[in-house]
């Protein structure tokens, strides 16, 4: 049975399990993924994971409770399981009080998207990667296969989102912590493209293998490549744009509500239309194609989940319950990427950042490390890789007073973390040239 039809049958069983006055809101997340882990140019752990989860929210008036359960894929077994789950939820529902923050969609908006596939057998992709990495110390990871997201409720709304994609992320190591990071992801695999990206990464190894430069703590000019900007964007994604966190002063961007600004060239939005995330969230609210968050350096919006909308009398805008962006997009600027090193002149070209966290959250001061391909540049030319450095600086300086330029070109960067499941989160980001960035260790 096709996954979409399987979900429809499960929802039909839930619909039939309701008694008078009950409603349900049910979300679905499933995948059939080949995971292949590589080290030293060889296969370390190859495997396959098939998983299906349904989250049933049973509602009566303003009371509601939920049960998220794994499904086996066998329709008869799973139908029994969801019937039992609904019956058990009914007994709990009788004991709970009204939820003042419950908000459900007032209209029915059914959607369906399907993208990508089919892919070549993953065994063949592994052969290509291992062959292309011949002679190199490659360590990396391939995730490939379909990912499914669904929603249905007792009002008849049905949403389905299906993506068949691959995501290969790898590093070519020179020695110790000196390496070049590369990635190839998409919906249609091309051996030639993989080989081209592998070759480009191998070319950078030549520079990585020159003697590294150790820099003293201090302030340096810096060019942050899009992959480095992704780390900053990821940190801000944890509560930065959350309406609830902004209302309760916990957002790192809270001071932007009282006048603090970034450079006027900074424009940030949640741009579902350009990403891979579904256009609906787990309560059934559909998402606008674009939600402006920062416009001309000023905070103009937030991600508002249904609960937050009810609590703070705001309008929900399709945010997930944790109000984190899933398709964060930043507008490009006027600097051609090909001119970035020339514009940097002398300073640090930071390919990747790593392990960011706040050193003073209300001030949006963050710290983190350089990683992978990070170079010292003089007169617009790469001189040497640098030993890892710790930065500690505020967003208001880095993308405010000290922002010199943003690159015209932007990169689509897919989230590679696979905690619990493959994530459908993406970023579209430019590089940034910063006149001064504070490095402390």
């Amino acid at each position: 049975m096709r996954p979409e039809a399987f979900f429809s049958e499960i929802v039909a069983t839930i619909d039939q399990s309701l008694v008078h006055g009950e409603r349900h809101a049910t979300s679905y997340a499933a995948e059939d993924t080949d995971f292949i882990r590589l080290n030293r140019g060889k296969v370390r752990q190859p495997g396959h994971v098939a998983q299906r989860y349904v989250d049933i929210r049973l509602i009566h008036g303003m009371r509601h409770v939920s049960h998220a359960l794994s499904l086996s894929g066998d329709l008869a077994t799973d139908s029994e399981a969801v019937q039992a789950a609904v019956a058990a939820l009914r007994t709990v529902l009788a004991d709970v009080s009204d939820d003042p923050h419950l908000l459900l969609p007032s209209t029915v908006n059914s959607t369906r998207t399907s993208r990508g596939g089919p892919l070549p057998p993953s065994e063949a992709l592994v052969d290509t990667i291992v062959d292309a990495a011949e002679g190199h110390d490659l360590v990396g990871f391939l995730a490939a296969g379909p990912v499914y997201r669904g929603f249905a409720n007792s009002d008849g709304q049905r949403n389905w989102h299906e993506i068949t994609a691959f995501n290969a992320q790898w590093s070519l190591y020179h020695r110790a912590d000196k390496a070049v990071k590369a990635a190839y992801s998409g919906f249609a695999w091309d051996d030639a493209e993989l080989r081209s990206r592998m070759s480009a990464a191998a070319d950078q190894l030549g520079v990585i293998s020159t003697p590294p430069k150790s820099l003293s703590p201090g302030k340096y000019r810096a060019y942050l490549a899009p992959a480095a900007m992704q780390e900053i964007a990821q940190l801000l994604s944890f509560g930065g744009f959350s309406a609830r966190a902004l209302e309760t002063q916990q957002s790192a961007l809270a001071k932007m509500r009282t006048g603090m600004t970034l450079d006027a060239r900074v424009h940030v939005s949640e741009d579902i239309a350009t990403g891979v995330a579904p256009a609906f969230q787990s309560d059934g609210f559909t998402r606008p194609a674009d939600v402006a968050l920062i416009d001309a350096g000023a905070l103009v919006g937030a991600l508002v989940s249904p609960r937050t909308a009810r609590e703070f009398a705001l309008s929900a805008n399709g945010a997930n319950p944790w109000e984190a962006p899933e398709a964060l997009s930043m507008r490009g600027g006027a600097l051609a990427t090909s001119d970035a090193l020339r514009a940097l002149d002398t300073g640090l070209a930071v390919g990747n950042l790593w392990y960011l966290n706040y050193s003073d959250r209300p001030a949006c001061r963050m710290t983190g490390m350089t990683r992978f391909a990070t170079f010292w540049v003089e007169n617009g030319r790469i001189v040497a890789p640098v030993d890892v450095l710790r930065f500690d600086d505020t967003l208001y300086r880095m993308l405010g007073d000290n922002l010199e330029a943003l690159t015209t070109e932007r990169e689509l960067l897919l989230e590679s973390n696979t905690y619990g499941s493959r994530l459908l989160t993406s970023f579209v980001l430019p590089g940034a040239l910063v006149s001064e960035m504070s490095f402390t260790l």
């Binding site: 995971f35 590589l38 080290n39 030293r40 296969v43 370390r44 752990q45 190859p46 495997g47 396959h48 994971v49 098939a50 998983q51 989860y53 929210r57 509601h64 409770v65 939920s66 049960h67 998220a68 359960l69 894929g73 066998d74 709990v92 709970v96 003042p100 923050h101 592994v126 052969d127 110390d137 360590v139 990871f141 992320q169 190591y173 110790a176 912590d177 390496a179 990071k181 002063q249 009282t258 392990y355 960011l356 966290n357 050193s359 003073d360 959250r361 209300p362 001030a363 001061r365 983190g368 990683r371 890892v388 710790r390 500690d392 505020t394 590679s416 696979t418 905690y419 619990g420 260790l441």
Partner: protein, 480 residues
């Protein structure tokens, strides 16, 4: 009772052309209770069940996982795992024919596994009481009291006759508050974000004085609104156990993971400044530093009898009197590296393969009372409760932040300071360990959210530590 407890491998596993196979069944259920700003949050239950087959065949290794734990589902994943093993044998990093083929037999159960727990209403009532007390001051702008109650059952069956069942109960109680006034925001929690996480029943709440802590945490948050920034400079620090656990976790635990040292994690979680030649001779810290891998402390979060590859777990010193002795490496990593290790091959659920993880990683207590520790400091700061963590991919250059600080001058505790941070280098920092608190200063904490691996996994780890004094540390405060 999970259906897989009655699974009969001899009757249901078909003959396959393989050197070894294992089946690892997992069932886990989590009930979440929370009261935020005096509003009970919707009750939620999550249940998860599945099985992973691992197969060694033709020199290769493969795994496959499914939530279908029926005999047919099990048969399918064994065949799929075997197919992966054969398909990639020509590229295999490890010749699986050289790997151990465990046949463990035994059982494990969490303490108080059969003890009754509060009813749903009783949980909500308890949390509501703490919430009401936490939210009394108008400067408290957000607050939440919650507890997750988790039950898990794991069964490991191997082709060599191994059969292990382990049953767990975990409680994660938590209280967090946010105070705000005059443009200043401060957050305070009960031993950190989910820092309290143990095996057992309601005795865990009593152990951490959960009842009544809502008001205390809120008062401390409000107090910090008016506190000065932590001063900057080199000084001695007294790290409370709820900061020590993070210090141990990031700058001892992760660098000692043998799969990092072998390079498996270099594309994601990172490598390690520790190299194989260091074991047996490298001075990791001062002679007061004793670190153990201890899965035998009953209440600690990651206690168990066998790891997920079937190796029997026992208490082992990793660092003794400051000298590095062993890595955190399971049986497969030990075989690859030719080093003795521990029973720490662990997976976070049925759908992820075992890799080298921390479990319970503890700093053994010394003989100094808390008052002795404070008295030993001429100029320094007491740092409580981790709030921020960042470390390089070799696990060397770190910077950590805490929720609360207290100045120590001339051996006496003084004023509260806000936004305390400190930074250092792992390879040097532990050598500045000057005093180790006694057993009275120990707290048994941990985290349910240690992230690592490709595919990514979050695993439960426990850390028991006394309070400790470090000398000449680079301390600083927040933005002025």
């Amino acid at each position: 009772m999970p259906d897989f407890l009655s699974f009969d491998a001899r009757a249901s596993v078909p003959p396959i052309d393989a050197d070894f196979w294992s089946l690892r069944f997992v069932e886990e259920a989590c009930e979440a209770f929370a009261v935020r700003k005096n509003v009970p949050q919707p009750w939620a239950l999550a249940t998860d069940r599945g099985v992973m087959a691992s197969v060694y065949a033709g020199g290769g290794y493969g795994y496959a996982a499914t939530a279908d734990t029926s005999p047919r589902g099990v048969r399918d994943v064994i065949e799929r795992a075997a197919a992966w093993a054969r398909a990639t044998a020509k590229h295999a990093l490890i010749d699986s024919r050289s790997l151990p083929r465990p046949a463990p037999r035994g059982n494990y159960a969490s303490p108080s596994l059969a003890a009754p727990l509060p009813s749903r209403q009783e949980w909500f009532d308890l949390l509501q009481r703490e919430s009401l007390e936490a939210g009394l001051d108008p400067r408290i702008v957000d607050w939440e009291a919650l507890v997750d109650v988790r039950h898990a059952t794991h069964r490991l069956i191997t082709s060599e006759g191994g059969d292990v069942t382990q049953r767990y109960r975990f409680l994660y109680p938590s209280i967090t508050v946010t105070a705000h006034a005059d443009g200043v925001t401060q957050q305070r929690s009960l031993n950190g974000q989910r820092g309290i996480c143990q095996q057992g029943a309601t005795e865990i709440l009593a152990r951490f004085h959960f009842t009544g802590s809502g008001r205390r945490i809120a008062e401390e948050a409000v107090e910090m609104l008016a506190a000065p920034n932590c001063p900057s400079g080199r000084m001695d620090v007294l790290l409370a156990p709820d900061q020590m656990v993070l210090q141990i976790h990031e700058s001892i635990g992760h660098p000692l993971e043998l799969d990092r040292i072998l390079g498996d994690e270099r594309n994601f979680a990172g490598t390690s400044f520790v190299t194989p030649d260091m074991f047996g001779s490298y001075r990791y810290g001062s002679e007061r530093l004793n670190i153990t891998f201890d899965p035998t402390r009953p209440e600690e979060l990651a206690s168990y009898a066998f790891d997920d590859e079937g190796t029997r777990a026992e208490k082992i010193f990793l660092i003794r009197d400051g000298i590095l002795e062993r890595p955190l490496g399971g049986a497969i990593s030990q075989s690859r590296a030719g080093l003795a290790g521990v029973a720490n091959a662990r997976a976070d659920s049925w759908n992820r393969p075992p890799i080298d993880r921390m479990a319970n990683l503890n700093l053994e207590p010394g003989d100094a009372s808390f008052d002795d520790l404070v008295a030993s400091i001429e100029h320094g700061v007491l740092l409580e409760t981790n709030s921020s963590w960042s470390i390089d991919d070799s696990r060397n250059k770190f910077q950590f932040g805490c929720e609360r600080g207290r100045i120590i001058e001339h051996g006496k505790l003084g004023r509260v300071v806000k936004n305390p941070n400190y930074r250092g280098i792992s390879a040097q920092f532990w050598r500045s360990l000057a005093h180790v608190g006694n057993a009275d200063t120990v707290q048994v904490l941990g985290t349910p959210f240690c992230g690592k691996g490709e595919p990514s996994q979050t695993i439960r780890v426990g850390h028991a530590s006394p309070a400790c004094v470090f000398t000449n540390v680079d301390v600083f405060g927040g933005e002025h």
